[in-house]
């Protein structure tokens, strides 16, 4: 197997074998990332492949000085997920103006394993799942989520509250542990 720098160099030359090697190397991590936002496998694949398409098209713009390659790819794929989420029709227009200190102070996913995280996320509606993932798993702020998802901050808070209510059982169990 070639080193990552060699793979990147070949990807810049549009070498299909190297692109496949890179894709397979990052696939588990990126699939897990997309799964945080989408329950449907087709949506996960779409978001992942749209993101990787951007990666392969713009791999020449990657600058080593600015950070690790995986971090760059991860960010692009996550933005691809957000783009896909934005293109979806908003399901709720409710707003909530409660304080978020409670939400911030408690992270139900911090010590959980991947299987447990996904099982909990599967209980949530799509939009709530995405916002919950961004807030708890990707550490976005409410303001950032509202900017990225193109929704109001109150709507973000409503989704977070909804996720808290739906995951109450899991939260309680975690607290007891």
């Amino acid at each position: 197997m070639n080193s990552l720098s060699e793979i990147i160099a070949e990807c810049k030359r549009n070498n299909r074998k190297s692109q496949e090697e890179l894709y397979r190397q990052f696939y588990p991590a990126l699939f897990a990332l997309c799964k945080k936002f989408f329950a449907d496998e087709h949506e996960i694949q779409t978001a992942l492949n749209n993101g990787m398409m951007k990666v392969f098209k713009n791999v020449n713009q990657y600058d080593v000085k600015k950070g690790e390659f995986f971090n760059w790819v991860y960010t692009i794929v996550r933005n691809s997920c957000l783009t896909l989420l934005r293109n979806k029709k908003p399901e709720h227009h409710l707003e909530l103006n409660e304080e978020t200190e409670y939400l911030i102070s408690y992270d139900p996913f911090e010590t959980a394993e991947w299987d447990e995280i996904f099982s909990r996320l599967n209980r949530l509606p799509p939009a709530t799942r995405a916002i919950c993932s961004l807030y708890y798993l990707e550490n976005f702020t409410v303001k950032e989520i509202s900017q990225e998802m193109n929704v109001k901050e109150g709507t973000v808070k409503w989704h977070l509250n909804e996720s808290r209510n739906r995951l109450r059982d899991g939260f309680t169990k975690n607290k007891e542990i």
Partner: protein, 475 residues
């Protein structure tokens, strides 16, 4: 952001769960997208490309060499050589009739005339006796630096040569094939025997005739119509050509003037005109679609199309050059010329299309002023006009709905049409160049600075383009 900006600092050292969708299936979908959006190009075989370029240049060079009209000087030289050969043949016949030289040696006489130059070069490489050196020196003293043999000098030298040849004949008469223990080759032997016969002929004549023979030019008498290319006479070869009437060539001042007039080009205006073939490639400062055209086909061969360049010199350091290139490219920085969002009938699917201008192509022509700044190094500035006959557009379409989105990319070749409005028909640029001259080849580089906008859609789209060129001066 908290926790060390986790959302922008990810690591690949976690043990991620096994994806529900196998990597093979997902890659198959990714591969389809890549084939549609980023098709793999056939790698350019640079070795073949350069070999083809060199072959084309060689064929062009040979064609130009054979079909280009010969100059007056070349015709004159050919004419002069033919005339001299005829005279030598006639002189050879006279020698054959008058001398007692063996038939074998005279049978090779014509060969001797034609191969004289080569024979003499071979002889010059061998050790030469002191007598021959003396002959050379005596004749060289009577020739000026330009190789012109003066009549008086040639007469005197002929006398000296005859005497010395007689002396050599007495000493070395019995051993013509060997001298100083060294075997003499056939060509030298022939020339040497001819020398002997000539010497004997002169010496056996009566005093009155001898005097005439040694004091007057013989066999060839220059007239105003006879012009001889004196450059063909070499100092060292005069020794042998002397016996074949070469030193007796008289180049009269009138003949020199006539030759000079014949060498002069017919028109004074065309005297300083140069013609050259020029291969030029535009260099984009951004973008990688240099050899691409629509359908992702390769168009590298188009670089082989040469242009015509005509220059007119003024003085030693200035020139004006007109250049016409039948094929040239001009690159943009993939400027976005169209961006549309269309909502389809079901109102849930949005099609976003972005079209960007990659490059244009067409003929270009211009006039530039050149100035010599260093030895073999010149700079130039000029004005060019580029016909933007065709444009290459990159179209990217994203179709998105609630559940999925797809991406499609393609390159489109569009011929200029006023209704399209993607490009202006003509682009005016200023050009700055620097080039180096090595013999008949000029290597140069430069930059095009647009004076007008490439496209009417956006004002002031004026990307710089570089250029590299090779110019082969035919005249």
């Amino acid at each position: 952001m908290k926790k060390g900006r986790k959302h922008i600092n990810q690591k690949l050292n976690e043990s991620y769960p096994k994806p529900e969708v196998p990597a093979d299936a997902s890659w198959a979908m990714m591969n389809e997208m890549l084939n549609a959006g980023m098709p793999t190009k056939n790698p350019i075989n640079w070795s073949k490309f350069f070999l083809l370029t060199i072959a084309c240049m060689l064929i062009g060079g040979l064609a130009a060499y054979y079909f280009w009209p010969k100059t007056t000087s070349d015709n004159l030289r050919k004419k002069t050589v033919n005339r001299n050969v005829e005279q030598q043949n006639s002189a050879g016949k006279n020698v054959k009739n008058r001398s007692n030289t063996s038939a074998d040696s005279l049978g090779h006489y014509q060969d001797t005339v034609f191969n004289l130059k080569e024979d003499l070069e071979e002889i010059n490489k061998k050790p030469i006796s002191s007598e021959r050196d003396a002959n050379h020196l005596s004749l060289q003293d009577n020739t000026d630096k330009t190789g012109l043999a003066t009549p008086a000098g040639s007469n005197e030298s002929t006398t000296i040569l005859a005497k010395k040849n007689k002396k050599r004949n007495r000493i070395d008469h019995s051993s013509t094939s060997e001298r100083n223990g060294e075997k003499v080759d056939k060509s030298e032997k022939r020339v040497y025997q001819t020398t002997q016969s000539e010497s004997e002929q002169i010496l056996t004549k009566p005093d009155s005739q001898k005097s005439e023979a040694t004091t007057k030019p013989r066999a060839v008498r220059a007239t105003q119509n006879d012009i001889f290319d004196v450059e063909l006479l070499k100092n060292r070869s005069v020794n042998f050509k002397n016996l074949l009437s070469y030193p007796r060539i008289r180049v009269t001042p009138d003949a020199r003037n006539q030759k000079a007039q014949l060498n002069k080009p017919p028109g004074s205006l065309l005297r300083n005109t140069g013609i050259a073939l020029q291969w030029q490639s535009a260099i984009p400062f951004s973008g990688t679609n240099y050899f691409l055209k629509s359908g992702d086909n390769n168009s590298a061969y188009q670089l082989l199309i040469p242009g015509l360049s005509i220059s007119q010199s003024f003085g030693q350091k200035s020139a004006v050059r007109f250049t016409f290139l039948p094929y040239g490219q001009y690159f943009t920085k993939d400027i976005l010329v169209s961006n549309t969002n269309t909502e389809q009938a079901d109102s849930s699917t949005i099609v976003t299309n972005q079209t960007s201008l990659v490059k244009t192509r067409g003929w270009n022509a211009g006039v530039s002023y050149e100035r010599v700044v260093l030895k073999n190094f010149e700079i130039a500035a000029g004005i060019f006009i580029h016909k933007q006959g065709h444009s290459l557009l990159s179209s990217e379409t994203v179709t998105a709905n609630d559940s999925t989105s797809s991406f499609q990319s393609e390159l489109i070749n569009r011929k200029y049409a006023a209704t399209d409005g993607y490009t202006n028909q003509y682009l005016f640029t200023a050009s700055l160049e620097a080039f180096y001259t090595y013999r008949k080849i000029q290597f140069g580089t430069g930059v095009f600075i647009p004076l007008t906008s490439m496209t009417p859609i956006i004002t002031n789209v004026r990307p710089l383009n570089g250029k590299l060129f090779i110019r082969w001066r035919l005249k």
